[in-house]
Symmetry: C4
Subunit: 377 residues, 4 copies
């Protein structure tokens, strides 16, 4: 269905109302960090090597204690239902059949239970903490009952980034749609029909909120109840409560990374939330080497934000990452064609990664082995 | 009325005749310094921190000896009446209710006395020196009688910058409006009506000039009477004459800053006049750290020129400033909606600053505490 | 027929269906390396010298053991027939009469034997290795019988680069032309007529493939049979088998260059395949000096990829190259006007090189003598 | 007639046929050096100073042994008659009344004698050497008889730069005008009328050529007779022959500058011929400091190429120049309005220079005093 990554993005753009595409594509404020994520990847150079090729490359690795057919996992994406009906089930199935880890967001459209029931493969659960510890405990318990192999604790959302595109499009809580916004939605009748037939909600939070079936109501209920900043004490509590692997997502600073590791994180996701939180923050590609140096070789570091291709994945490995999370790169596929679209996105990334490994003479998709394939600018 | 800063600028553009918008937006000559001011802010990186959040951020600080609800003050803006009727009263009221210092320009449309009478809150007065010391003395006395807590002495206007946009638009002294200029003005009838009903003048200078009610006449009278370059002797005279805080505005060089401090300035505004004077001058963001190092930690340094958002304010603090002056950033709001527009502009900056402090783990809006939040390029 | 290089490119663009022009012009993936090749040449500076002019410049040199009227040779170009009927004969004749080496591709439209018969001047043969050693041996033997003075072994195509433009245009194996592609081809009736009258194939491979007269069939036959990665053992075998000069093409790394030299390469072509293979690889201009330093002064190094003018040729000499291969720079001429077009392209490059040598005071077109004419950025 | 420099350029563009404007504006080949000249000036930073102002700036200086009201002289421009009838007389008069040196080109439209007769003020003469020493001697003698205070020997034209715009426009020797070129000329009837009434020739060379009244004939006669490269021996001969000041124009390298000084040049013009000769050469702004360091403080160095404003003039002084030559910057005025246009161009540059000196606290327009006003990038 797609022969290069640009196709999936273009297809997503064709399918989605422009405001929804903007919600996916955009970053916070002036989108400086969003652009840096991409520019800093582009500026890295891969070493072309010709004689030390191995007959075949090994893309398999272990991420968050799980086997992965390539060093990539799907990042947690909230409000998935605006991109495709039953988004998370589509994405999780594609991930499962491709053999890469999937992470369900607190703000997913389908609930933990639905995904567990429909997908039949393990998935990770990402937690945005609530002020009310009872809710946190309940969510952890549900994730535990769903046998999630890892909990991904988001720590970069002390306050939500101001996304100018969403503000322009009236995508606020509460919604402020104006006539021009409505008109643009009507231009995508297929999307609209899907929406009306299968109105998404926030499946995990619906049980705690007054009108659980309505996305707007649940969002408005949840908004003021998020805890925001995560403290060291919070992390300790979760480490204590959660029985399996613990991943801390949203770190961009060496001190923070060292603290997370000290408090028991099994893996750390280096992220600026895809340029959607602190505008003006550095790219993850530029910060990773310093963090790797600070934490040493034993801590599992995953690079997130700005990964668009298998070439970027190899660059991340070369900078010291164990693997990558991808957000938009798979959501383009999801919006373009549900499970099949996500599968196509993963297939492309794997092919590109394999090509890049072949042409750089990289045998194994692990951080130590490929670090020489990259030259920093 | 506005949900992100771009809205205020766009609204100002809609309201104002294009020549007036250009007068606001433009810089001198090729606008190289104007662009540098913005680019150098954009290039700075903010440190994303996640675990050392404080429960609440303290934005309050002290500027020029006055309490400020955030480290921002409104810069002196001449000819305010071209942006909104009774501009200074609107802006000063918005500043007062938001709790930030306001500075009235020598070239304000409303006079010191009018502002004092209508606003009922202290404001600073900015002085452009005249050749005639009697006028200087009179202006100081009027500012004193209005209980201005600080005098802001402008020193960067030895000669007025050549602003190509104004020259193109016929905004010269005397005016040289051509038919095409008139046509463009007629496209903004609401602005024109306001102008005709409430013809602005230069309120502070009207008393000394032949036909005080006419902006063109007063400007033409004043133009050749400005002193231009301010000498060390001038500064000493003012320090001696003026009883309260003295601020020197328009310094971009470490030696000049040291001299100003030595001669008794209570605070120094690092400024290139918003890129409207010496084209080719460095950005203030690039010069501030060197000046801070030269003058030491005790001198109050305020960064001016290029500040457009709360993110820029935090970057300025991180470079060593005690706070910022904002020019265009508030005038967009003023032109868009008078007092309410200025209030909206201030509100946005405060929100952005708070968000930026939250996501960088910055507790206090003071120079020393946040210097680690910035990495120079 | 052409007065500056832009003309040839424009003429090629006018003649060719857009998909064919894209096939020529494009690079792999996001074309980052393609752009780097050009940008890094542009950033180099030539030393303007005025008093040490020699009465005449000597452009003659030796490349791959052959005399060359300037330090330039024509790179191997596959599928030449899509640019001009009997492309290789046109190009080889132009090269012969201009006095520069020509290299025939494994994937040429005309076969080794046809070119040998029609051109009557020596040419080099470029080998893409096949998995089946018998085919390799057969090709070497044919090249030997044609008295090719040098074999150019390509080593940078372990896997073929993914060229997004070709994918967009349906130029895949097998072809996937859609109606819109056909329409664009019909806009170039002259090209179409040539195609239909003189349907190109892959002349060298036709004998081994089922329907040798059909380009699509031969390509599909060949595609899975290429060996891809070339190993040190392969190189040793070829060094052993091939009786005359051996050139290794497609090296961008100092270690690889040292190995190639050690295993008996007579010359090494520093290349990233014109930005058509590993996207993200460095430009050849940026890598050459390091490779020169690593291999010492005695190894013949030829720079390939990104050379568009005689100025670029001089820059390459200044960086330490013995000469350059040009790909697109001559194919523009070929597409624009067959043999005459290639001659025009060579003429322009020679003139530019002579001008550049004159204005930099460079007497001889050899690496050692002109190295001071360049300042790296 | 003009209020900022952009106006003069725009007016020139309106008046001239596009091919003639291109001849003025363009550079050689890809115009890389042309763009560098401008970009490198823009990147320089001027030091804003506020307290050390002097009451008035002294712009007067000495250039080539002549008094100059500002550190600027008019560069030699060939074919002036294509820009304005009797171009050199207009330009020389404007220069004389403004008090800056004027330099007549070998290729001027009006002859040495005409200019001497009509202008009544001293001017310099620029020599392009001929192969035939008799012509050189004759030209020197004519310049001597016209009491030219200085001879400017051009040394950067060993071969003429290939100017793609001229090639595109058919401005070659011989002319190759095609219908589309003619159509564009007819769009500027005023220019055409001037041309027909006052057909320009090359006044200085007409006496030696068959049909002296025809520009095309004289050009075609002269073209193959230029000597091109100037050798040290040539320079010695001229130094010996020419009785007054000798200026060498077209040096961009420290060794060349030292040799020129050693052989008796009274002043050296650092130039890349306005980006019209060696494309890929460095900007003059980037090379000047190194040359100044190499030759010491006593050699008079004049920066040429890329100067567009008084700000650029101050930057040049700050880099170590004694003054500047301006080419295009005055020809815009010439094309826009003859003598009045050149006067306007000079007036603007003087005003800008005065403003820039004022705002940088620069008292004197000499290299030593203002070197601190610039910070290199
Ligand atoms: C539409 C969208 C929704 C997201 N929702 C969440 C979320 O619910 N939880 C979370 O931790 N991160 C969320 N993220 C951030 C992603 O997990 C990931 O960090 C980011 O997309 C990575 O950047 P990339 O899109 O450049 O790959 C979201 C990102 C996008 C684009
Ligand atoms: C329209 C306009 C009028 C100004 N008038 C004055 C003035 O009267 N006195 C003064 O000291 N500065 C004046 N300035 C400069 C501002 O005080 C301030 O230094 C500048 O606007 C800061 O740059 P910014 O606009 O990028 O924030 C003016 C600036 C503008 C844009
Ligand atoms: C259309 C096209 C076909 C090519 N075919 C071959 C080929 O068959 N064998 C090969 O070794 N290189 C091939 N190359 C690469 C060229 O030999 C050469 O390395 C490249 O064109 C150099 O870059 P340049 O085009 O920027 O000069 C091809 C390049 C192009 C543009
Ligand atoms: C139209 C034109 C004609 C020129 N003719 C001559 C000439 O006859 N002799 C010469 O020495 N330089 C000539 N030059 C170069 C100028 O003297 C000068 O070096 C150049 O214009 C400086 O660059 P600028 O235009 O950026 O100021 C010419 C330049 C232009 C633009």
């Amino acid at each position: 269905m797609a022969v290069h990554p640009g196709h999936l993005k273009a297809a997503a753009k064709r399918r989605l109302p422009s405001a929804v595409f903007d919600f996916l594509e955009g970053g916070s404020n002036d989108e400086v960090t969003l652009k840096r994520n991409l520019a800093d990847f582009e500026a890295l150079r891969l070493n072309q090597r010709v004689f030390d090729h191995v007959a075949s490359r090994n893309l398999r690795t272990t991420l968050f204690g799980q086997r992965a057919s390539m060093p990539v996992a799907l990042a947690p994406i909230g409000m998935g239902g605006v991109f495709h009906p039953r988004a998370e089930i589509h994405a999780a199935r594609a991930a499962a059949s491709f053999g890469v880890p999937y992470c369900l967001s607190t703000l997913s459209s389908c609930s933990i239970e639905e995904v567990a029931a429909e997908v039949g493969a393990p998935f990770m659960f990402q937690l945005y903490m609530f002020k009310d510890r009872a809710i946190n405990a309940a969510l952890l318990q549900r994730a535990d009952q769903a046998h999630c192999p890892a909990l991904v604790l988001n720590v970069d959302t002390a306050v939500q980034g101001r996304r100018n595109r969403d503000l322009d499009n009236g995508l606020t809580i509460p919604l402020r749609l104006r006539p021009q916004h409505i008109v643009r939605i009507l231009q995508k009748p297929r999307w609209l029909l899907n929406w009306l037939l299968k109105k998404p909600t926030l499946g995990n939070l619906a049980p705690y909120s007054p009108d659980g079936s309505d996305l707007a109501t649940v969002s408005a209920w949840a908004e003021p109840r998020f805890k925001g900043a995560v403290t060291a004490a919070d992390l300790e509590w979760i480490r204590h409560t959660w029985p399996r692997k613990l991943v801390v997502k949203g770190i961009l600073d060496a001190e923070d990374a060292k603290l997370a590791a000290k408090l028991g994180a099994d893996a750390i996701v280096i992220s600026n939330h895809g340029g959607r939180q602190l505008d003006g923050a550095s790219s993850t590609a530029s910060m990773l080497p310093g963090i790797r140096e600070a934490v040493g070789d034993d801590v599992e570091l995953i690079l997130d934000s700005g990964v668009r291709s298998g070439f970027d994945v190899l660059k991340a490995l070369g900078l010291g990452a164990h693997g990558c999370l991808i957000g938009r790169a798979f959501v383009y596929g999801l919006a373009a064609g549900g499970q099949r679209g996500v599968a196509a996105a993963l297939e492309l990334i794997a092919q590109e990664l394999d090509e890049a490994m072949t042409l750089t003479g990289t045998a194994d998709a692990t951080p130590c082995r490929v670090v020489s394939c990259c030259v920093e600018l």
